[in-house]
């Protein structure tokens, strides 16, 4: 119930393509769904987050799509660039709780 399942484990996309990373959850109490980006040797950094009252959120080239009935959310990166190559983590939490429940991570490589 506490898990967040993330796929794929790794992803290689040509520059300009649209990588899509998917996450699924079981706990309907989750009400906050962030995505984190992590570069080698660095800690995770918040990229974009969504609440379940909206189905999509865009920030620059990054878009979260949220399907409440399916309990799934995904990250899309438009016009991907080699600088987007990183590990991406989805996570979830609920407002009364401090802790983030993390997905397993996706290693994304954008080929020039």
């Amino acid at each position: 119930q506490q898990q967040v399942k993330q796929s794929p484990q790794s992803l290689i996309v040509q520059k300009g393509g649209i990588p899509i990373i998917n996450c699924a959850y079981e706990n309907t109490a989750f009400d906050y769904f962030p995505w984190y980006q992590q570069f080698p040797g660095k800690g995770p950094a918040l990229l974009i987050a969504i609440r379940p009252d909206v189905s999509e959120k865009k920030e620059g080239r990054f878009t979260i799509s949220f399907n409440k009935s399916a309990k799934q959310f995904s990250l899309h990166i438009m016009d991907s660039q080699p600088g987007d190559s990183a590990t991406y983590f989805c996570a979830a939490s609920w407002d009364s709780n401090y802790q983030l429940i993390w997905g397993a991570g996706t290693k994304l490589i954008i080929k020039p």
Binding site: P34, Y36, G41, G43, P44, Y98, L100
Partner: protein, 115 residues
């Protein structure tokens, strides 16, 4: 831009030894966290800390772990008697407030290797 810092970047210790991992949170933040990431696995929450006491802890955070804010700037994680399975990357994070409305800012991590 303010950032969370952690020291050391890499710590090697023998099984059974005590280790202290150090973090300096962002100065105006009030909530502090420790997470760990075993190599190749997901990030796992360990503990959150506010007002000089633990607010929440996970099942992983057993009696061998402790946290402390010994002065106005440092936030430490102590592992009393390390085990091989404690080998992981440990991340400290801090936030201004409680809950999802407040972003948690992560440090670069300390890689702990227990031999």
């Amino acid at each position: 831009e303010p950032e969370v810092t952690q020291t050391p970047s890499h710590q090697v210790t023998q099984m059974g030894q005590e280790v202290i991992l150090r973090c300096v949170p962002i100065s105006n933040h009030l909530y502090f966290y420790w997470y760990r990431q075993i190599l190749g696995q997901k990030v796992e929450f360990l503990v959150s800390f506010y007002n000089n006491e633990i607010s929440e802890k996970s099942e992983i955070f057993d009696d061998q772990f402790s946290v402390e804010r010994p002065d106005g700037s440092n936030f430490t994680l102590k592992i009393r008697s390390t085990k091989l399975e404690d080998s992981a990357m440990y991340f400290c994070a801090s936030s201004e407030g409680r809950g999802p409305s407040y972003e948690q800012y992560f440090g670069p991590g300390t890689r702990l290797t227990v031999t």
